[in-house]
Amino acid sequence: MHDDNSGGRTDSIRPRHRIGDRGDHFLKRVEGETGANISACYQCERCTNACPVSAFMDVKPHQVIRYIQIGWRERLLSCSTVWVCLSCEMCTTYCPNDVGVAETIQHLRKMAANSAIQPRELQLATFHRTFIEELQRFGRVNEFWLMGALNLKPGILKDKIRTGALKEEIELGLTLWRRGKLKLLPHRCKAVGEIRTVVQNRNGKVR
């Protein structure tokens, strides 16, 4: 007999969520912070159908919106969707209710990046952080230095060697070098100090 209604599956140890068991705090928070019209979603799945990468997502775009409505914060911040999203804006463009799906996923990505939850796509999460670090350093971003800095981050190089991505990357680098498409020396902006201030006050002043 299954008291837990799990249908005999072995993964039933995970605590089950019930709709509405968490109130609407998370919904109110995300709506307030993004200005997105999340309550208006009626699950027509047009966003998921328009999305070019929905096949690679564990939580599909329409589910993201639903999960916000019912307050499943941890599930959302630990999913791969927030990192896999390309911000191609297909979902936002085709939403009949003007929900702002892409902006919402972007916002969840921000929340995930600032939370203690381990990102599902470590390389992509590290890439964004490294990009901003490089931007702070020079004011502009040099592709060669960006990839170099990314490879020096903990765990990245090891992962690339294991998957063979490093070899491909070196081959690619050589191809670009032969075509004269690599700029080895970065350009430093004169106003790099001002840019640093902006990045440091990133959670800065909201009027």
């Binding site: 191609c88 972007q106 990046a113 502009r140 004269g180 902006c189 990133r202």
Partner: protein
Amino acid sequence: MRLAFYPGCSLEGMASDYAESIEAVFRRLQIDLVEIEDWSCCGATAAHSLSEAMAVALPARNIAAAEKLGLDIVVPCANCFNRMRFSQVMIEKGIYDVPWPVTGKIKIHDMTRLLAEDDMLEKIRARTVRPLSGLKLVSYYGCQMVRPPRITGYTDYENPQTLDRLAEAAGAEVLDWSYKTTCCGASIGIGRRDIQEALTRKLIVKARQAGAEAIVVSCPLCQSNLDLIQAKESGPATPIFYFTELLRLALNSGGRPQHWLRKHVADPLPLLREKGVIP
């Protein structure tokens, strides 16, 4: 005509060929491009992945610099254009305070739309000395230039026409296909090569199925994605042209094409020779 020019980081590196061809085409069309002094990065995807305040403030510095010059900005890179427009819209709404004064009195143009205006097209047609007749192309716009429409101002975001019109003005034959604005995968290849390859490969395959011999693009990242995926392919390549490269060919403005087209991975020279565009 004078315009402020914001090249963006890519045009210093991977898209240096784009930068060169822009310079040549605008010189030929007698439009002055004034590079924004000491411009800085727009923040790209990383900035709005981490903080919206930062995504608004970083492009604002460049917009403010152009406002000081009193010139409209023209942006060649699709993502830079999108980020700058986003910043301008958010500042207009008054949601964020930025350290640089932005009044919103200047316009931000993406380069394709600026050149696809009727008078510009006239100018291009009048100066075309080497029409690219017989070259069959499809145009590829990508995401950031057209979506979301409330930021980019495109009304025909499902079937944009600017690149089509420009390529036709250069004398090429532009074919219709359904993947004009389908995402190429952008920078996701850095962490997930599988997704990148799936998306980019599909575009190449669909373009070939539509009968295209080459693809014309305006976004540096789309160009490098579509170009580099062909590095390991054998057989005839599908060259990925920047639209300014086609214009430069047609207008015959400066340099030997054999020289400045060398930066492509999918070699365009055999195709152009076959069509008799270059000897």
